[in-house]
Symmetry: C2
Subunit: 158 residues, 2 copies
Amino acid sequence: MTNLKAFQDYYPEAFGHCFGCGAENPHGLHIKSYWNDDANDATIAFYTPQPYHTGGYPGYVYGGLIAAILDCHGNGTAAAAGYRFHGRAMGSLPALRYVTASLQLDYLKPTPMGMTLELHARILEVTARKVRMELWLTAAGVVTVKAQMVSVALPPSP
Amino acid sequence: MTNLKAFQDYYPEAFGHCFGCGAENPHGLHIKSYWNDDANDATIAFYTPQPYHTGGYPGYVYGGLIAAILDCHGNGTAAAAGYRFHGRAMGSLPALRYVTASLQLDYLKPTPMGMTLELHARILEVTARKVRMELWLTAAGVVTVKAQMVSVALPPSP
C-alpha cells in the first residue's frame, strides 16, 4: 500500500455515489482498495462491519454485506487493472468504470463480528472489455469466503 | 400471498437480527418473503431501494444491495422449504434456520432506481441439510439479475 490514494478516490464525482464504495455517498460503506505490495497482480481493502451488520447467525457477519464489499473491491480492482492494461494513469479521462457481470460466492465458514476484515483480489485475466478475478475475505488470518468475479467496462462517458 | 405473515416473521427473536431480513434490526433492510400463490415451489418478496442505494452507474441500483436482498430472500425461502420438507409448522421449535453456502449472481442488465423490485425464488431441491434454488430479480417486469443459491441448515439451537 505505497499509494495512500485508493482506487475509488480516482473515480470522477459523477461515479462517486456508489453505496458500497463511493466517496460522495454519505450513507455508504466507503470501501477503499489498494494494490497489495506483496504481489504484482493482487489488491487489498479493509472493512470493519458495524454492530448492526450481523447475519442470521448471532455474532457473525451478514453474508449479504460480504457479497457487497467483495463486489465493490472487485470493481475497484477491475478499474485499476483496466487503467494498467491500457497504459493509462489512474483517474485519467474518459473514466474507466466497471460493473459486475457475474459474482460467484462460496461461504466456507462463518465470518466473526468485531474485527477488521481483509478483502483480497487477484487478477486472473484482463481484456479490453472485461477483468476476471478471484477474491477472498479473511478474518484474523482465516479465509472465510472465496469468490470468482467478472467485471465489464462501461462505455466511455464524457 | 394468502399468508400475510412473512417467513422472516416466524424467526425466533434470537435469529431476528439479520441486517438484511431481521425484524429486530432497526438499521436493516427488512426483506419479507412469502409463498407465491402462482406456483407451488416459488416465493416472492418486494423491496424498494433507498435513493442512496445507487451503484457506480448513476440511476441504477447498487449490485451489492441486489446480492444482499437476493441472499436474504433465498435463506428465507430455504427456511420455508425446510419446514415443509420436515412436515413442520413454520415457527415451530427448534428453529430451522439456513445460511448461504454458495451464491452465483449473473447481472444481465442494469436495475433502475425509483421503483419496487420483485425478488423471486424457485426451489429446485430440498434435502435434510440443504436447499438449492434459482432466484431472479425483476424491475417493471424485466429480469435484470439471475442467481443460483445453496442454503444449508444450521445445527438445531434451543
